[in-house]
Each structure stands twice: as structure tokens, then as C-alpha cells.
């Protein structure tokens, strides 16, 4: 059996070799189908990887609760109305009563003018709780993070974002210097590494970090917060935790059903899935293209197989005279069809790997391959080969050897 298959395969390849251009053209449909299937999946995979790298950079398993009402008046616009109803106690209650939650970090952010000597910038000042550096990934470029006692004593200390540092200090060493935040003098203890724009759209290089209590007691004297981060132990519980938080806060804020809530809860996955909509579109287009290509490719193979059977009636007669059964003839032509579709798919995979490498190289995406799509394309081309091969093969086995030989 194995010997007969391998010899038949060698003979099939020799026959296809005599019709090089025809063979190449006939497998193009399958190759293009595979190409679009695998490329689109690879691109999706690369985007996912990029987003997950970004999400990882943002912080692990985070939920962000923000004060305010988000309205969507239409055409995809979002209007944000701030509110002063989110309290530190809300954050504490979330931590104490929701089982998945391992930590919360309340914060207050507000944009202030900032000054050092003659330089002025507008900075997004964020009052952070001591555990902020454990929830969000931050790296210190110069100096250090706040100490426990700086948090406890509401000390007037600040950590600068990289752009703020560059704009205010240039090449000067900022550590130990005082900057003015609005009217409050703050001592610089550290500078953050350049981090770029995070998933929520905040420019992290244009922010300054201040101890949370310093911010709300000494600078602003308010009793509310603008947001808090919630960290969940397990990534898989992110959505449940989000629901629980939502329920809890609706209860605490006495939001009636039908009323708009004065807060909103987003999981890090929501931020990622917003970007995913574009991916889904690309994906659907790619899949449509590949289904079309596969169908056309399959029909192409079918046509080529019909042609080859008609051309090789004499060969079929010779093989029958040499002792081939009808089943042998069916096997032979099925093998040929399978060889065509699978090599078409292999060709497509090869090109898609090259294209993926190019995309990754030029579009600066992290390299990722969708093994699933490669597997699917091979399986698909196998069944396509069976589909395109079975009818011609049956035709071939029905060839009357006597007629074919005389």
C-alpha cells in the first residue's frame, strides 16, 4: 500500500512536471486562498500580540473605575461629564467585599500649569496611592519612587514624566530641585522613563506623580477621587469582577434602574477590544477572500483533473492491463488531486510566511504566526483535494480499458 502510494506519487509528479505552467496555474487559486487565510490570521495574531504587550505594559489584570458619566450622543462620539461622587471609601469597599480583587489604588488627576525657573508646561498631575507602582508598570529613569513616610506625611514631593523633565530641566539634574505646581512648590525625587501613550490614551510622559494624600488634602482639599485601579488575581475573572464592581457601586451610589450611572468601569480587555473591531473587519474580509479563492481554486483543480483524465485514457488502459483495479485508478487520481491542493497550500503558506516577516519588519509589529490557520489551511486543502479529485477519479476508473487501448 505504502509502496504503491509512493510510486504513484512519483509518477504523478513526473506527469505534472511535463505540464509545468498548467500545474502552476492550477494550484494558484489554492495558494491565494491559503495566502489570504494565513496572512490575515498572522496579522491578527501580531496585532493581538502587540496589544497584549501594551496591556502588559499598562499593568496586570487591571480594571479602571472612573468618576463621571460617559454619554454617546451619536455618530460614535463620546462625551464625558465629570462627577465628584466617587470616594476613596468606594475603592476600599471594592477591595474588601469583592473576592477576586487583590488590590485597589485610588488616584486623582487634574491638569495644572507647572513651572521651573522660566520654563512652563501644562502637566497632568496624578495623585497616587503607595501601591500605584505595583499596579501600573512604571520605571524610574532618575532618582527614586516615593517612600512610605512621604505618602504618610503628605509630603510635597513629585516624580516627573520624561517630557515634563526634558521641557523644564533640559540637561540639568532635577533631583532635589523645586518645581511649582500651580502655586505649590514640590521637590523632585524622580523622573520616569519615557513610556509613550498608554491604552487609555494618556501621554504618560506628560504626567507628574504626587502622593495621593498630598494631592487631595494639601493641594486641592477635596473629598473625592477621579478614578481608582482595581487589580484582579486571575485574568479569567476580569469580567466577573467588573460586573461585581458595577453592581456594588450602583448600590452604593443609589443609582436607580434607567438612570445613568455617575461612574464607569472598564477592564483592560475592553480597551483592547475597542482596537479589535478593526481587526475583526480585516479578518472578515480576509476570510471572505480566502473562501472565494479556495472555491475558485477547488474548481480549477477539478477542471484540471477532468482534463488530465480525458488526456490520459490510454494510460489508464495500460495501467488496467498491467493489473490495476478500479480502486487503484481512483487512488492514483485522488492522490494527484491531493498533491495539487496540498502543494498549492504549501506554496501559499511559504509566501505568507515571507510576507508576514516583511510586515513584521517594516510595520514594526512583533512577529507572530497563527499555527491554527496554517493547520486549517492544510486540512482545508486536503478536503478540497478530495472534493476536486473524487469525481474525476471515478470517471477515470470507469474508463473502458479496451476502448482506451484500441
Amino acid at each position: 500500500m505504502f509502496r504503491s502510494i509512493s510510486i504513484n506519487l512519483i509518477l504523478a509528479i513526473k506527469n505534472l512536471h511535463t505540464h509545468k505552467i498548467r500545474t502552476l496555474l492550477s494550484i494558484l487559486g489554492i495558494a491565494f486562498g491559503t495566502l489570504s487565510l494565513v496572512i490575515v490570521s498572522n496579522i491578527t495574531e501580531m496585532m493581538k500580540k502587540k496589544v497584549s504587550i501594551e496591556a502588559e505594559k499598562y499593568g496586570k489584570n487591571l480594571i479602571i473605575v472612573s468618576a463621571g458619566t460617559s454619554l454617546t450622543p451619536g455618530r460614535g462620539r463620546t462625551v464625558f461629564l465629570p462627577s465628584k461622587t466617587l470616594k476613596e471609601s468606594d475603592a476600599m469597599e471594592v477591595k474588601n467585599s469583592i473576592p477576586y480583587v487583590i488590590d485597589v489604588s485610588p488616584s486623582f488627576s487634574k491638569t495644572f500649569p507647572m513651572r521651573y525657573k522660566e520654563s512652563r508646561v501644562s502637566a497632568n498631575a496624578i495623585g497616587i496611592s503607595p501601591n500605584y507602582n505595583k499596579l501600573r508598570n512604571i520605571n524610574i529613569y532618575l532618582g527614586r519612587y516615593f517612600t512610605e513616610s512621604e505618602f504618610e506625611n503628605n509630603e510635597k514631593k513629585v516624580i516627573l514624566g520624561y517630557k515634563i523633565y526634558e521641557n523644564l530641566f533640559g540637561k540639568e539634574d532635577p533631583i532635589g530641585k523645586y518645581v511649582l505646581l500651580f502655586r505649590a512648590p514640590l521637590e523632585v525625587v524622580g523622573v520616569l522613563e519615557p513610556m509613550g501613550v498608554d491604552l487609555t490614551g494618556n501621554d504618560q510622559d506628560n504626567q507628574v506623580l504626587i502622593p495621593y494624600s498630598t494631592m487631595i488634602r494639601r493641594i486641592l482639599n477635596v473629598d473625592y477621587i477621579t478614578s481608582f485601579y482595581v487589580q484582579v488575581a486571575d485574568y479569567n475573572n476580569l469580567n466577573e469582577a467588573k460586573e461585581e464592581i458595577n453592581k456594588l457601586l450602583i448600590l452604593r451610589h443609589k443609582i436607580l434602574s434607567g438612570q445613568r450611572s455617575d461612574f464607569f468601569v472598564r477592564a483592560i480587555t475592553d480597551l483592547v477590544s475597542i482596537k479589535d473591531e478593526a481587526t475583526i473587519l480585516v479578518n472578515d474580509l480576509g476570510n471572505t477572500a480566502s473562501i472565494l479563492s479556495y472555491s475558485i481554486g477547488g474548481l480549477g483543480i477539478l477542471a484540471i483533473m477532468m482534463m488530465t483524465v480525458a488526456e490520459r485514457k490510454r494510460e489508464i488502459g495500460i495501467r488496467r492491463a498491467c493489473g490495476a483495479t478500479k480502486k487503484d485508478i481512483i487512488t492514483q487520481f485522488l492522490l494527484e488531486a491531493l498533491f495539487l491542493t496540498i502543494s498549492g497550500s504549501g506554496f501559499g503558506i511559504l509566501i505568507s510566511v515571507v510576507v508576514t516577516l516583511l510586515i513584521s519588519h517594516y510595520a514594526l509589529y512583533p512577529l507572530a504566526f497563527s499555527i491554527t490557520s496554517i493547520f486549517i489551511s492544510i486540512v482545508l486543502s486536503f478536503f478540497l483535494g478530495l472534493f476536486a479529485g473524487i469525481y474525476p477519479a471515478k470517471k477515470a476508473s470507469d474508463v473502458d480499458p479496451i476502448e482506451a487501448l484500441y
Partner: protein, 224 residues
């Protein structure tokens, strides 16, 4: 068992339908062929000799009558069983050589081994030695189009021999060859008979028939 014919046909009839008309091509053939005989079946075209050969060669089935192959009634054998007989026991040689054009001489010779159920080893070695014996040592890797008619027929004979069949069934084996090559091919076939093969040749040429020990004439579907 020496007396059991290798092939025995009893009142064999074959008819075809052309439209609604039934045409009887073989009208009751009785024939015994013994091991190691060499027989020429002679007849004009249209006499039914090719149909007879197709039935003897298990390529076609009779409409009625009995076909005993090595004493076994194969009249009602299935397509697969007949294929096995063709593969193991009969080597065909055709007038038009019938080699597969896109593979070389050696591969053509090995073709029947694809379908053999017998365990085989060194098929390639055997094919090479068969072709060498037939004077084709230098043409092993040539495609059929690169060979002369006589050379192609030698390849076809080697192919007929690769599975060690008892019977060589040749249909006008010299029909497409010139006189000199014809006699060379006949020399080969006769020598195979001398080495123990049963030789059945269908022909209308007297020169060919004369080389066989026994001649059978067929005319209008009957042996005369």
C-alpha cells in the same frame, strides 16, 4: 495435472449491442491452451480475434460460456479478481507498444509491480536485468519518444515479464514494425516460449504465425 489446460474456453460467446441491434462477435469458441504452448490466433480484421484476446486476457467478459483459467472457473470473477489475474499471470504486448509517455523505460517496466500483491524486493534490479537481456542496457532512462519502435516493443516485453507471468499475450506485436525488427521481436518472443512461457499471439501475418508451433484460424466468430 499435466493435462489440465492453462486456459480452457467452452462454447464461449460474446455479443455487443449497437443501438438496439445485438451483434454476435464470438459464436461459440471452444479452445484449450496448454502450458508452454505457442499459439498463433490468425484471422482477418473483424473476425473477432481481438475480442477473443481481450477475453483470454481477462480484459473483457464473455456473454455466455465458460472460461477456465488453470482449471478454475473465472467466468463470473469480479473486476478486482480479473485485475489480479492480469497482474500476476498475463503479460501483454500490444501492437502500439502502449508505454506511458512521461516516464522512462525503466519506470515503464516497473509499472505492473505497483499493483502486485506479492511481496517484492529489488524490483528495480530485476527491471534493469530484463532490459539488459533485451539489449536495452543503454536506454534505461530514455523516455518512450526517444526510442525506436523496436526498442519500445522491447520495453513493453520487459514490462510484460516483470511479474513473472505464465502467459505472454501479444496482439499483433510486429504490426507496427519493419520486417527486420519484426523478426528480432519474434526471436525474443519465441525464445521466451522456449524458456517456459506460454505464448499466445494474435496476428494476421503468415510470417508471424509460422513461428508458432500451433495455429488457430478464426473467422466470423468461429474457430475453423
Amino acid at each position: 495435472m499435466e493435462n489440465t489446460p492453462i486456459i480452457e474456453l467452452k462454447n464461449l460467446k460474446k455479443s455487443f449491442f449497437i443501438g438496439n441491434r445485438e451483434i454476435e462477435v464470438l459464436k461459440g469458441i471452444d479452445l484449450k491452451i496448454y502450458k508452454n504452448e505457442s499459439i498463433a490466433i490468425i484471422g482477418q480484421s473483424g473476425s473477432g480475434k481481438t475480442t477473443l484476446m481481450n477475453i483470454i486476457g481477462c480484459m473483457d467478459k464473455a456473454t455466455s460460456g465458460t472460461y477456465l483459467f488453470k482449471g478454475k472457473d473465472i467466468t463470473t470473477f469480479s473486476d478486482d479478481e480479473l485485475s489480479e489475474i492480469r497482474n500476476e499471470s498475463i503479460g501483454f504486448v500490444f501492437q502500439q507498444f502502449h508505454l506511458i509517455p512521461y516516464i522512462n523505460a525503466l519506470e515503464n517496466v516497473m509499472l505492473p509491480t505497483i499493483y502486485s500483491k506479492k511481496p517484492l524486493d529489488s524490483v528495480k534490479q530485476k527491471a534493469i536485468s530484463l532490459l539488459t537481456d533485451l539489449g536495452m542496457k543503454d536506454r534505461l532512462y530514455n523516455k518512450p519518444t526517444q526510442l525506436s519502435g523496436g526498442q519500445q516493443q522491447r520495453v513493453a516485453i520487459a514490462r510484460a515479464l516483470i511479474n513473472d507471468p505464465e502467459i505472454i499475450l501479444a496482439d499483433e506485436p510486429t504490426g507496427a514494425l519493419d520486417t527486420k525488427t519484426s523478426s528480432e521481436i519474434m526471436d525474443i518472443l519465441v525464445s521466451l516460449n522456449e524458456k517456459g512461457k506460454t505464448l499466445i499471439i494474435i496476428t494476421h501475418e503468415v510470417e508471424v504465425a509460422e513461428r508458432c508451433k500451433k495455429n488457430i484460424r478464426i473467422s466470423d466468430g468461429k474457430i475453423i
